[in-house]
């Protein structure tokens, strides 16, 4: 077996080790390269920034623990921004397995920002039905969620004063890791109940949501850890996303180098085979 053939059949544990080191080392020794703000992330930031105090902001945390590393930092940044702007925050989830995590992040950020449940924010929790929940909220919010996650009746909560349905929401952002997520909020929510919508998603999902962005169906998109890092910079509170960008940089570069190497070996072995054949 020649060197190129051996390299093409390299033990995958070596690749695992390279990726492991590329993730670990930058986390231990961060470089802190500058991060450029993209227009799609700025779209979400600018819209929240333009909302007057007391506006209703709905954040739907439509993800489960599998997508926590990418979407959790997005949720933290958005909540910090909304609370800093004194918006009335309605948080919820369409993913049953994400309920506990969503409750924790909302409670944690609210406590950090000195906000009270029922007065400044409410966490509605999860309700069965998937996309039907969105339509139900559009028709009657109190019918879809008669009580919040802690069991308090939603009717009479000061944070929901003047809010009867999704039509009274000024801005909604869905942080989605799949279906139901951003697309469902557009199709079943924004299209009928006419509120402004933004999105956040995992890195692999982002390219699929660009058609919605370009057509104005969503006014901004926070894509993956990079999007979360950009948002952390915009609100001037660096966190886990910015810290993780060096690791992501190194891993991307490692994969690019591996792909280039594999192609070099591939062409080299193909040329040799041709020469031997000819």
């Amino acid at each position: 077996m020649t060197f190129t053939e051996r390299m093409l059949k390299i033990d995958r544990r070596i690749i695992f080790l390279v990726i492991g080191l590329c993730t670990l080392l930058p986390l231990l020794y961060p470089v802190g390269l500058p991060i450029k703000i993209s227009p799609e992330v700025r779209g979400v930031y600018d819209h929240i920034e333009s909302l007057p105090e007391g506006s209703v902001f709905l954040l739907s945390l439509d993800f489960d623990p599998a997508s926590k590393p990418e979407l959790h930092p997005q949720a933290i940044s958005l909540l910090r921004h909304a609370f800093r702007k004194n918006l009335r925050v309605i948080a919820m989830t369409l993913w049953v397995s994400g309920t506990g995590m969503a409750d924790q992040v909302v409670t944690q950020v609210a406590r950090e920002m000195g906000k009270d449940s029922g007065k400044d924010y409410v966490f509605l929790g999860w309700s069965p039905g998937g996309t039907a929940v969105i339509i139900n909220m559009g028709q009657d919010l109190y019918g879809a969620f008669p009580a919040d996650y802690s069991g308090k009746p939603t009717k009479g909560l000061s944070v929901l004063q003047g809010v009867a349905s999704l039509r009274d929401v000024n801005y909604a952002v869905s942080l989605g890791a799949g279906n139901p997520g951003v697309e469902a909020w557009y199709v079943f929510g924004k299209d009928k109940y006419k509120f402004e919508l933004g999105g956040g998603c995992t890195g692999v999902m982002a390219p699929g949501l660009y058609p919605l962005l370009r057509s104005g169906q969503i006014n901004g998109l926070i894509g993956g850890l990079r999007g979360a890092a950009e948002y952390e910079i915009l609100i001037d509170q660096k966190g886990k996303a910015v810290a993780g960008m060096d690791a992501q940089s190194a891993t991307h570069l490692a994969i690019i180098v591996l792909v280039i190497m594999c192609n070099l070996f591939y062409f080299s072995s193909r040329n040799r085979a041709r020469q031997q054949g000819g």
Partner: protein, 216 residues
Amino acid sequence: MNFFRRQVPLLITLITGIVFAAQYYVPHPASEQMLTSVTKWLQIIGGFALVLGVSSLFHVHAVKIRRKEVGWGYSFVLYVGMLGTIAVGLWSNGKEAIDGTMTAFGWVYNFMMVPLQGTMFAILAFFIASAAYRSFRARSREAAVLLIAAVIVMMGRVPLGEYLIPISGDLSQWILNVLNASVRRAILIGVSLGTVALSIKIIFGMERSYLGGGKE
């Protein structure tokens, strides 16, 4: 019996299909009230679907354990995990924390489910890297185009890539905003037209596979 098995479901599908397709364009309060009622039904049915899904999962794995099929041990682990979580969940009244104190259910969620799901997702990075090395080869012109686009987007999406090749950020944005969005939109339009065609076939009874293939 055939009337109740075939004609009645077809009639219900026809009427509800036409009524709710029309409902979208009728903003009258009566029409909106009807939508409100039906979405409440949908939520209730969604709850039942969850119960149905769990019971079906129990049934499938019970059969595997009883027959001692290959990998029945995993089914046993699933049983223990599910029954244990349900028991702990009921005991904790479905709450992860009460007055700031973590319940047993919260412990299962935070220290078992969250790390397990996170680990599963994180492992993907290693497998993707290995798969990219083995299969991402420029075997044809199309594959070469895909390869170059992927490298540009990967460079442009991280600070190190933009630092090494400053133009990669703008190039990556252009690929995502123009090439990717237009192709995705074409696919979306195709899928949507297909969905409309299938819906019409179901509403008018031309597509009946949802009724099941039982004997008439």
